[in-house]
Symmetry: C2
Subunit: 493 residues, 2 copies
């Protein structure tokens, strides 16, 4: 398609409120052409287009063009159209148009800079194995939603009301008193972090260290000052140390992943949850709890959480992404009612809403009890994989390597001796089509841990085993060369 | 559900890497109870839960609980569970837990503060009449997508590739050279503005004045300094005035709605587009063009635009929200390739992705030619409504009132004499279940216009006519009382 666009000229009626007449068209084009505002070679709209856009009869537009041609201002070319004529009667191509510059944008966050090759096994991905996705049940719900006669084209900015009600009911079964009016549906849980952090009057947030890498990058992009609170999944949380940091740096909000923390896989104990609530009360620290992981452990309905113990002031978020169907992109935020209008406004400013067709499908999926059935199956499968993963680790890992035992769920943390060069390990594994997450993006500095996240949720167990064997082999190689000179490593880097 | 959650305690094997034994359980609970970290009255997980979470045989957990009970640390209550015992043997309720504070959040933007009552006719809404939505055709596409065997659970962060290809092809038919790699799908066009504005290294953006109100609120929330460029839909754009402002304040990017500008309904002429491109080149001003409206005018494939005239450096955005199905929430951004990674990263940080199931449905809808058929029907309907709207305006409006004649499309601007009190008019119409947009949010100060946007896209023509009659009546009332004392108005406000 190399035809240039039409010239667009404002044609107004001489008498306000009346229809445009042929004389108005002649007047408008003549004025624009004489002023040099539409240069020679520009293409005019065909009469049929002018007629449709101005609501005219065909004769009106044609008469105007005839008059302009008679005055030597237009020039018709058979089968090409009508063009502005040059003074010498020749119609050249339209003049070149200026090119604006590109805007200067911030750089791409490091974590997005070099994704693993297509086909690589992602040993740190906590996505659910596609084989476990409840396709048929979801399709049934989709069909049912599409057959409902009252399929509404519009949406509730806060989220599809039946899904908000179903979520509130589920949380009620876990002992949280939640009203549908407190539930805000989000485009994945990522949007929940986004709208909360953007709404803070004091943009200073505490996060765990190591921190969920996407959360870190998001907060940085949002201009939030971050206060890292060290988390050691082997020793647990040092609440005194946290309190000193909070007292000194006074963050306004703590973002905490209390079950299967990303990336450590750590889950807070009851004592730690209660201690954190007391600390928060003493220091005026608000809490945002990300509960993505607890559903993935059996009997999760009885797991303690900040929201469950600390009540409605705790902001709570969760999502269906990692448990059901990543492509749905449905998460939610449960907020105290006084905060809901501001958070919904932040959501509206960012994306206006999320697609209610999918929200309706998920509501149906919950109502029919399909989600409960699915979670049971998922938890049983993850339990098996967890045990198989532990068995493999015990079997193949060198004695200096340790790992956490989270009791099931999707992930654990593998920690390595300091002598292991993680960058070299990543590189060696990448060559074998295995990706381990670069945990350095999760630490504010050198890091008090030295390892990476292992997930047994995504890849089939045989693949995880193969990957763990490869990790062990590479580790053996590195650990058997403790005297390898630093210089040699520097040359490789 | 009033049962409290279980107590969660970290139980590790004494020998790293080995399974937990009964002695480990006894040791962990005894330590926590003696240290006062799990107070009397706390409920322990039933043996079956402990067994599942730790991968133990039933006997192991039961043996541990028996031992702890024998030591007087636990206390079983039939049909209730196992609880931490108090020193005196009585088990009280668990102690109260601290409540954290609420976070301090920014206020709700004014524009969201008082939505019109449910059932109100929204005379300024540019959403498409639900009667015009192509339900059956969309449902067909949905079904077809759901039946595809390779329905992937994951997503391309940039957007579903077949839809990006279909969009690139459509734009190609309008004369824009666009590759699918340049198209970024967004959650409505709002997300396009969000991710571009958040990615700017210099957060100073020029916008039209009056400005798209959601855009204004979003930029303010994003901390972007705004440079307003006055736009008069009756006189057109004063490019010299714009150039002076741009030279003085040096915005890094201009966000411009070049067809059916929101709220004025103004469309840029070819001369203005070319002039703006030249201005942008001279002053290093990058351009973001929002083209939501041009598709709604017949023969829109030949409408000029900044992207069409100025080439690939112009960032271009559009959406299907207002033309097809608001609930889809699918928009897109076309960016020069060097900028794509940063913009996709910004999208990932904000929402990770958009739901590919809907994107696949829309791709099917475009592929089958349904969108073309739909647009033809939509344009014809809007043309009719536009003419009917003009007829009504000519018939009923007082002579002091003027309006723009955009040639069709979804909206026009109604401008009123300065003596009209717009707040009073809004209030009077609200009492009659008619909502007109409060345009004051679109102006940085008093405003060089005095009116509001009228859309004939959303409500059936009979309703629009009824609403316009009501507006005219209220105006007659106000215009016949020119001497109404200011004080009286102040009392009403």
């Amino acid at each position: 398609m190399s035809r240039p666009p039409f010239v667009s000229v404002h044609i107004q009626s001489a008498a306000p409120g009346r229809r445009v007449a042929a004389a108005d068209i002649v007047e408008a084009y003549a004025r624009e052409i004489r002023a040099g505002r539409i240069p020679a070679g520009c293409r005019l709209p065909p009469v049929r287009v002018l007629e449709r856009q101005l609501g005219l009869s065909k004769n009106t537009a044609q008469a105007a063009y005839d008059e302009l041609a008679a005055r030597g201002l237009l020039h018709g070319r058979p089968r090409e159209g009508v063009f502005v004529a040059a003074a010498d009667g020749v119609s050249p191509s339209p003049p070149p148009v200026a090119q604006p510059p590109l805007p200067a944008l911030k750089p791409v966050p490091d974590m997005f800079a070099s994704p693993p090759r297509e086909g690589t096994l992602r040993l740190s991905s906590a996505f659910i194995d596609p084989e476990l996705l409840p396709r048929e049940a979801l399709l049934d719900c989709f069909r049912s939603v599409l057959r409902q006669p009252g399929l509404e084209p519009f949406y509730d900015h806060q989220g599809h009301p039946p899904l908000r009600a179903a979520i509130a009911q589920r949380l009620g079964r876990r002992g949280m008193e939640v009203r549908p009016e407190q539930v805000i549906l989000t485009v994945g849980s990522q949007q929940a972090i986004d709208i909360v952090s953007r709404s803070l009057t004091v943009g200073r947030m505490a996060t765990e260290d190591p921190v969920y890498p996407y959360g870190r990058a998001l907060l940085e992009r949002n201009g939030i000052e971050r206060v890292p609170l060290p988390l050691d999944p082997f020793a647990g949380i040092d609440l005194d140390a946290w309190e000193q940091i909070v007292a000194r740096r006074r963050p306004s909000l703590l973002y905490a992943i209390t079950s299967f923390q990303n990336p450590t896989g750590y889950s807070y104990s009851s004592h730690e949850l209660a201690g954190l609530l007391a600390l928060a009360q003493r220091h005026g620290l608000a809490l945002l709890e990300d509960d993505w992981g607890s559903d993935m452990l059996p009997d999760s309905e009885y797991r303690p959480s900040l929201r469950l113990l600390g009540g409605a002031n705790v902001l709570y978020m969760n999502s269906f992404t990692k448990k059901l169907w990543p492509a749905l992109r449905i998460g939610y935020l449960v907020a105290p009612e006084p905060l809901v209008p501001t958070l919904v406004a932040a959501k509206r400013l960012s994306t206006l809403g999320s697609p209610p067709l999918l929200e309706a499908t998920l509501a149906e999926f919950l109502d029919r009890g399909y989600y409960d059935t699915h979670l049971d199956r998922l938890q049983a499968e993850l339990d098996q994989r967890y045990q198989a993963c532990l068995t493999t680790l015990r079997e193949v890992m060198p004695p200096e390597v340790r790992w956490t035992t989270p009791g099931g769920g999707p992930t654990l943390w593998l920690d390595l001796p300091r002598s292991v060069d993680l960058g070299r390990l990543r590189q060696a594994l990448a060559a074998r089509w295995i990706d381990i997450e670069d945990a350095s993006v999760a630490f504010p500095d050198a890091g008090h841990l030295h390892g990476f996240r292992i997930s047994y949720a995504y890849a089939p167990m045989a693949d995880v085993r193969r990957a763990l064997l490869a990790v062990a082999e590479e580790l053996q190689g590195q650990l058997q060369q403790p005297g390898r000179p630093r210089e040699a490593r520097a040359i490789r880097a």
